[in-house]
């Protein structure tokens, strides 16, 4: 028999048992639905994390810290013994020179820690403020104004929009180009009167918290150069040139991961955005894998449904099989007839599951709203290729499940099958 004729006949006999076919297909579709959704959520989750990373960091930026070496000790330490494990290390200028010598490093800027006692706007009211230095080129969500390379120029600052009102400005737009004064105190021994001075900056831009931002903190951000000036003024000479960390910017043509490894080799602790990304991706993958696992279980369960249905189908059509064999149909034709039937069921189940999952995909805006995600965020992204592969795989699974019944059909003795009574 020709393949096309067998497939047509297989489809026809399924249509003759509509309810049974539909129910078997529905059992498979549960698995297909779950897997499709899991894959869609995985794709969407990865895309969302990608966005998240882009908004929260700059892939070319590496954070370098001193390695904290700790001796492997067991049990409590004996009193009076000198602790020879290296405590929290600081990096010095020699470390910076060393890091700078690593190929692919464009710049290495110490992470200065700075603080301001208060800030003052045109209304002359003093407010506490967080002060930080913007050395990375991570993107910021601007409410007003503009930045070059996502960094303020020396003499200007980036201010959070929640500060605008207390400074005495009516809107973010109005504050652009206007002054802000920061009072910087010298760090001194507690109890001593603090010595300090005012520094006035121009507001270059106003930023706001973005929905994809992970660790947004309200505050005032100054340029790297101004940061250094403040640090030099503020930090006592004894503690100078000791940095908690160094921010490395990799060269355009260098692979950040290679540079990360090279700096690590020099004996430093290096963290990059990729690390975070990897952690997030692993998380997304685990969630996706878990859901897909449930789908696979559902499919496994539905296999028994297929086997059962096909056995019943063989029993019901004993006479038809006998007739076909009497008319000269080959054993393999009969086997194929039932396997194609199973494949049709698998196809149907895959299709129904995929379509149902696509329907759930229509809820994307609602999901984004429920999770307070930015408008337009799609947490479920369907890849047509995955669906095609899934449906093909289900057809294969169905054929394998239909193997035993189809063998039974092929082996049927036509004389027995055609015995009347």
């Amino acid at each position: 028999m020709r393949r096309r004729d067998i497939i047509r006949r297989a489809g026809r006999s399924l249509r003759q048992a509509k309810i049974r076919t539909l129910l078997t297909a529905l059992a498979i579709s549960v698995g297909a639905f779950t897997i499709t959704l899991a894959l869609a959520a995985g794709t969407g989750g990865k895309e969302y994390t990608d966005n998240l990373i882009k908004n929260n960091g700059d892939a070319r930026s590496l954070s370098v810290f001193a390695k904290t070496q700790q001796k492997e000790t067991e049990g409590p330490k004996k009193y009076g013994e000198i602790d020879d494990t290296v405590s929290q290390g600081y990096l010095g200028d020699s470390d910076i020179a060393k890091i700078k010598s690593v190929p692919g490093v464009e710049s290495a800027t110490p992470t200065y820690s700075v603080s301001a006692a208060y800030m003052v706007g045109p209304n002359n009211e003093k407010y506490e403020t967080e002060l930080s230095i913007k050395i990375d080129q991570t993107g910021v969500d601007l409410a007003a104004g503009s930045l070059e390379n996502n960094q303020p120029k020396p003499g200007t600052v980036l201010v959070s929009d929640s500060y605008i009102e207390v400074l005495g400005y009516t809107s973010a737009q109005e504050a652009i180009g206007k002054p802000i004064t920061l009072h910087i105190n010298k760090l001194s021994v507690p109890g001593m009167p603090a010595e300090g001075k005012n520094m006035t900056f121009t507001i270059a831009a106003v930023d706001k918290k973005s929905d994809t931002s992970l660790n947004y903190q309200d505050g005032v951000r100054v340029s790297a150069a101004d940061g250094k000036t403040i640090y030099d003024y503020q930090t006592p000479a004894a503690a100078a040139n000791q940095y908690f960390g160094v921010t490395v910017r990799t060269a355009d043509d260098a692979d950040p991961q290679m540079v990360q490894a090279a700096i690590k080799d020099k004996g430093y602790e290096v963290f990059s955005l990729q690390d975070i990304q990897q952690v997030l991706f692993t998380f997304v993958n685990v969630v996706m894998g878990g859901a897909a696992g449930f789908g696979a279980l559902a499919i496994l369960a539905s296999i028994f449904g297929i086997i059962n249905t096909q056995y019943i189908s063989v029993l019901e059509r004993t006479q038809q099989i006998g007739l076909m064999k009497a008319l000269g149909a080959r054993r393999k034709d009969i086997g194929k007839l039932f396997r194609y039937e199973a494949a049709w069921v698998g196809f149907l189940g895959g299709l129904i599951g995929t379509l149902l999952a696509l329907l759930v995909g229509l809820l994307n805006p609602w999901i984004a709203k429920q999770l307070n995600l930015e408008e337009g965020t799609n947490l479920l992204i369907f890849n047509p290729l995955y669906s095609v592969i899934l449906i093909l795989a289900l057809m294969l699974v169905a054929v394998v499940a239909g193997w035993l019944p189809s063998r039974k059909a092929a082996k049927l003795d036509p004389i027995e099958a055609l015995r009347t009574e």
Partner: protein, 240 residues
Amino acid sequence: MIQVRHITKTYGKKQNKFVALDDVSFSIPTGASVAILGKSGSGKSTLMHAMSGLDRPEQGEVVIDDENILKLKQKAVDRFRATKISFVFQSFFVQANETCFDNVSLPLEIANVPARERKRRVVAALEAVDLGDKVRSKAKNLSGGQKQRLAIARAIVNEPQILFADEPTGNLDSATGDIVEKLLFDYNKKNGTTLIVVTHDHDLAAKCDIKITIKDGKIESISERQAKSKKPAHRRRVQL
């Protein structure tokens, strides 16, 4: 020419052994109509199964066109059944949920006849049994006589050399039975197809050229109808 030589078929083993066919031999000339007459359990169906290659007796040969079909490989036997013989059964075995067209098309699909050729031959076969207006009807909507006519259309669509009819009128009233008989004998005469009717109905058997009576797995008698001026069929007495 169909030659059946010394066929023996047994079922079961040892004390349960049952001899269904016991050293049966005869021959049938091409184009004849033959009745295999016998009571139920006489072995007539087993004989038909052996002659059509559905069953394989332990001993003997069935020579059709100088070929012993019992020695053929399964593939060749299937091919033989698909191209050279066909069946009409007592209980029709038409596929109730399929259209008349699809029912009749089945043997052609099995024989790998191309779709266009199939369409022509199916319609012709349905017209030959006077079901030309039922091409698209479902088989379940047909009456008993129509179903058997549909089965005949299915049996003649591949233009067989040998047509086996197993109690073709057994499930029909006499009026529709007559129509079915007429169709079978007309086809036999017109196309020179050998018609082998397996039956216990003496009236039906009397209408055939050759009557082979079988009893307890042995041939009881072979008689030839004398009436018409037809060329006498070759006959061979069997040692009983």
